[in-house]
Amino acid sequence: MLSKRTARVLATLLVAGSLTVTAAGCSSNSAGKSAGSGSGSGPGFGQQQEAVAIGTAAQSSGADPAIPGAKSGGTVTELQRADFSHLDPARVYSSTNQMADLLLTRQLTSYQWVDGKNTLVGDLATDTGRSSDGAKTWTYTLKDGLKYEDGSPITAQDVKYGIERTFQAELSGGPQYLQMWLTGSSDFSKVYPGPWGGQDLPAIETPDAKTIVFHLKSPHADFPFAAAMQSYSPVPKAKDTHAAFDQHPFSSGPYKVLSHDAGKSLELVRNTYWDPTTDPTRHAYPDKWNFEFGGQNLDIDQRLIAAKGEDADAMAFRTQVTPDLAEQVMSDPSLKSRTVDSVNPFTEYFSINNKRVTDVKERQALLMAFPKEQVRKIFGGPLYGDFSTTFLSPQVNGYHKFDLFGAPNTGDPAAAKKLLATSANPHPTIVYAYANTDQWQQAAVVISNALTAAGFNVVKHPISDQNYYDEMGAVDNPFDLYWAGWGPDWPSPTSVIAPIFDGRGIAPAGADTMLFNDPQVNSEIDRISAEPDLDQQNKDWSKLEEKIMAEVPAIPWVYSRLVVMYGPGLGGVHLGMIGTVYPLDVYVK
């Protein structure tokens, strides 16, 4: 559920090497085993069952099952470098912003975390949605007793209005799934400009205050996942303060904004009208959340390590333990025990420019020769991530472990050479482009040496850090190999395979960085996307993933890890579905 923005930010961090952690004993020969090793409780992926199950109506009712030992009360301090750039749900997309809105808003559906297992359940709605018309029509019924921060009831009309707001061009930055699905147009603001001019969106019907019906232009079996995005939260029309909403949203969640000093601090206190018995996904144990912005990552780590005074109850959502401190943290059991260390849904790979490197043998030779392990070592070794052979992360439904080529992580130049010998050109020239940072410079040497050993002529092409995405993302870029990454917006393969492999979506700085465009794959994407049955859809995506992998559009590298500290006074801290540490189960001991 990382937005492109987040992906960019995260990727920028990766490029800058900020996420790098030094090697510390953490086995990762099996992604399934090592994930969640830090917190001791990661979602159960890598097994037969899905990473995130769809919950029943029964699971959707009542309160979130209590966490043993957890109690209400206390104040949690959250530390992060930058302020949330948006609080207005219509503009919230990045995982960090989503964290804040998890506390301030409710959605039709949301994720329930019980004992390391995530389930999508009804949040405002009584279930995860009822589809008809081949997954083109989705109907939700709201629960009783839902209230805003002023005690007024949350209605189906408010949910509709909240979604209508996302069409408003001024409220840019949010995801656009529902907007496109409801209008069937990528230029959805032309079809419906948003509610500020008084227009109504007929594609959403609200026959009564409790019922809301969505009429989509095409089938979308994973609508319930999209409905869980914070962007699609209820907003009462009377409380829409337009631009000012961003600083002080009107709360439907368990907390409300007490004060927000942009760039400095944010204080959340309880929304006393929020009824926990209506909310199966939020414990909301702490009485108060204090967010402090501006600390350097290193300082945040040091504060969390020292955990002095109030900092005992402090945490960070996604401030990765800095490489300087990783060894200290990982070698000290008392520190390690209060570290979230999990694979997140983000995957990283080295894109091959499929427009330029057209010979599949040559692409396969690149994969065969690629020194995954040596490169990962530069970025900190096992703590950086677990080696991958697929595009779907173990945190995403439809993930299944497969390795079509059996290339060793250290690369196999001899095998690569053999492959090249059977190709049209045994000594092809490969332009490797990379962000001009210390670590990527080192990596470029390692990669260049490994590929050269396999018979490639390697041309190293550094790009300035800031322009990396624009140059690498150009549709006619003159490079053959470059790093890229993808974070899905929800744990469904639809939000991975479709965006990054649909050749019709090739655009500047787009998701298909491999410029992969296979008409067969494109039509298969259309077919699977229209599949109304979610289980069937996941299976089909898995098959398609293998088929795509056989074409070697890119070299899978790692499933990223998140390694974040928290204070000893906190419990219930774990990695969430959004790829960051999740706030909803946190409690003060």
């Binding site: 923005r5 061009a169 840019s172 930055g173 600083q247 300082d299 800031q466 655009a507």
Partner: protein
């Protein structure tokens, strides 16, 4: 004096104009389209165009700069129908906050850092320099110059991190560096400022110590100082009233320039200690490619510099009667 001021202020306006234009051009020369940043994942050309229009980046750069200037002097309207009254510095690309208001909001923190650190730098630096000059060649001179050299060789970032780690995180001797408005709690204000002040002072005072020492020695060898001694005046009067008076001019010049820099936002200090001032705002807005905010911080910084240099010249006239009366 009036003519001096008018001339200097006109010059200042010109400098600000040039700096702002340069910042503007440079930003667009090195930064990808800022609209892309808020366009989200499924960024369609239509959405992008709408965002560009809202941000006001849908016209050629010189035209945009012209709009910016018009905004400053006459106010301007943005795509979303917001009117921004003069002096309008625009709205943040990132969180749509008005730039001017944000700057004013951040200014007190920067002023707190600047004036506190400035006072400390001056007393520590000049004090050490005076002692060293008076005890030239003696152990005290060598000790204070050694101290100054150690201080000067520190980086703010390095010294700040270590000092905080040891004094705050480990020993708990100092409160955590933090900004509390002076008006809300003076004690907490000062407590949170100690480390930034001391750090800036330690790192900068060294320069002042060495500079004060050398100008003091220079002035002590002046004929008029010998003449003062020939009058039988006390050592104190000789050093402080006479030699120091002469040594003050160059030291204050340097101080004026440094204060100008502090007032523009001590970038590293504010970032290191999480002081929400202009400097941190500048760093953040550069990182976020937030042009309007960046422009705002650049204008504050250059205004501070320009006015500091005017203040230095005015100080010259105060200190040196030769400037004042000729």
């Amino acid at each position: 004096m009036l003519r001096f001021l008018t001339r200097r202020l006109l010059g200042a306006a010109l400098i600000l104009l040039v700096i702002s234009a340069a910042t503007f051009l440079l930003f667009f020369a090195v930064t990808p389209d800022p609209a892309l940043l808020s366009c989200g994942k499924q960024c369609t050309p239509e959405t992008l165009a709408a965002i560009q229009h809202n941000l006001g980046v849908d016209s050629p750069v010189p035209v945009q700069y012209w709009h910016f200037l018009v905004g400053v002097f006459a106010g301007r309207d943005f795509g979303a129908g917001q009117h921004c009254p003069a002096p309008c510095l625009g709205y943040s690309f990132v969180n749509q906050q008005p730039v001017l208001q944000t700057l004013l909001d951040r200014l007190p923190a920067t002023l707190s850092v600047a004036f506190g650190a400035g006072a400390l730098v001056l007393t520590m630096g000049v004090g050490l320099g005076l002692i060293a000059a008076l005890r030239r060649g003696k152990p005290l001179d060598k000790a204070s110059m050694g101290l100054a050299l150690i201080g000067a060789s520190f980086q703010i970032y390095f010294f700040g991190i270590i000092a905080r780690y040891v004094l705050v995180d480990q020993l708990g001797w100092l409160p955590r560096p933090d900004y509390t408005p002076l008006t809300s709690d003076p004690l907490q204000w000062a407590g949170g400022m100690i480390l930034p002040w001391v750090t800036l002072a330690v790192v900068n005072a060294a320069t002042y110590a060495r500079f004060t020492r050398s100008t003091m020695l220079e002035n002590l060898s002046e004929e008029y100082v010998r003449a003062v001694r020939a009058k039988g005046l006390s050592a104190r009067a000789v050093y402080l009233k006479h030699a120091f008076r002469g040594a003050m001019t160059p030291v204050l010049t340097m101080f004026g320039i440094d204060m100008g820099m502090f007032l523009g936002g001590a970038l590293i200090t504010e970032t290191t200690f999480n002081i929400p001032g202009i400097g941190r705002l500048a760093v953040d807005s550069v990182a976020a490619q937030d042009l309007p905010m960046m422009m705002g911080t650049v204008l504050v910084a250059s205004t501070a510099m320009v006015f500091a240099s005017i203040a230095v010249d005015a100080c010259y006239a105060l200190i040196d009667p030769r400037v004042r009366t000729s």
